[in-house]
Symmetry: C2
Subunit: 244 residues, 2 copies
């Protein structure tokens, strides 16, 4: 019995504590890559919890790709991926920091407008409803990386101003609605840079760019933000993970 590792009176659920312990054991190579970890029944006696609780922990680790199960055989430690993609929704700031660069930002425009029809449709707005329109130059290590155009429905966050936009919009939104931020749909395409953008990005006016259009939704499916970013192709690759 090694159940001293668990604090059953903690406010942290037991199944989360067990997840952490298993991750730790994989990291310490107590459980080796390609080999099987102890069976669910054995772990449940080790931790002195029910098998279903252990199952919940393992299910989460399987969903995150760290383990995989084979019926009738056991549960195994998966091979780690070479390059870990960014998980889930991240801001430009987080993205650049994860790449080891120092992000900075400059607001070119901040105003209230009636959006083009295609933007209004994507944000599920009536044609006359207003949005905040923000244009920013995004730099990494003081060199321009992207130009970013953001549309946020005024009705979602009427108090928004040029100062608030500097911080984390996601945190603001999550605090205002008690809902969490759900998911996003992203469109990616290649193009030649627009002439007006080329001078801000400091690239030739025939240079290629990666255009990413992202619509973000609250967990009830209401869209709250549309961002259209134009990245310098010579400085930016987008990395993502696809699950089957």
């Amino acid at each position: 019995m090694v159940q001293d590792l668990l604090d059953k009176n903690s406010h942290i659920p037991i199944y989360i504590q067990i997840e952490e312990i298993i991750k730790q054991r994989i990291y310490l190579e107590e459980y080796k890559i390609g080999e099987n970890i102890p069976s669910e029944r054995e772990l449940s006696t080790q931790f002195d919890v029910s098998r279903m609780t252990v199952r919940q922990s393992i299910t989460n680790l399987v969903n995150s790709g760290l383990l995989y199960r084979e019926k009738g055989r056991g549960t195994y430690v998966a091979n780690p991926k070479l390059e870990q993609p960014l998980k889930g929704l991240t801001s430009f700031t987080e993205d650049m920091r994860a790449r080891g660069m120092e992000p900075s930002s400059k607001v070119l425009r901040f105003e209230k407008i009636v959006p083009p029809v295609d933007i209004a449709r994507d944000l599920m707005l009536e044609p006359s409803e207003e949005v905040f329109f923000v244009v920013r130059i995004r730099s990494a290590d003081s060199k321009p990386m992207a130009i970013e155009r953001t549309y946020i429905p005024v009705k979602i966050y009427p108090e928004l101003d040029e100062k608030k936009i500097m911080g984390s919009l996601y945190a603001l939104i999550e605090a205002k609605f008690h809902q969490k931020i759900g998911n996003a749909i992203q469109q990616m395409e290649a193009a030649i840079v627009l002439k007006e953008d080329s001078k801000f990005l400091q690239i030739n006016h025939t240079a290629p760019v990666l255009i990413i259009k992202r619509t973000s939704y609250l967990s009830d499916g209401i869209p709250f933000e549309l961002v259209r970013s134009t990245y310098r192709a010579d400085r930016y690759k987008f990395i993502s993970e696809i699950k089957r």
Copy 2:
């Protein structure tokens, strides 16, 4: 009691049957968008199963984004997204059909080679290990859409030949190993087309292209395929979903 909807002696697990029924009820607008579905306890008496079984169904539907839960309040039907991205790993064939176009393909090269070092590293191969190297022109509605270069370790599928590659590689692999195919890591970038590719894609030699490099893994984390695709930027957008 409406439990006649369930076949408890079916080989299909009950929680999957319940998932299907709930999806059906959402589609029939018996459960409306934004409104709450019956509580877990009520559903468990409706179907005459335990609450934990209903919970398993609902958990899966929450993970797929169809429902969302709020503690103390209930479980709600989420807003559907405007454009559904392709779920999970898909082949060029599936991708094009989903876009309403008819895919075709032409093999330009099929040979066994020792891969460049960067490819070998991505596929976790020793420097001298061989791979199958396949170059294909991928067309949609008879117009060239992309040029695709695929690397498959010989040791993964030694019997591979030019005929087998025409069908579904994924199905072949899943049959050979009893493992399922796991996930993939994808890199996306914009560039100007290579001169040698421009004539196959029938575009100007200064045209932009979208380059997608994808490494696919078995569920134990072993890579089995690396594909580098060059898409015409004027004909192709990549759409994906990001979960928080």
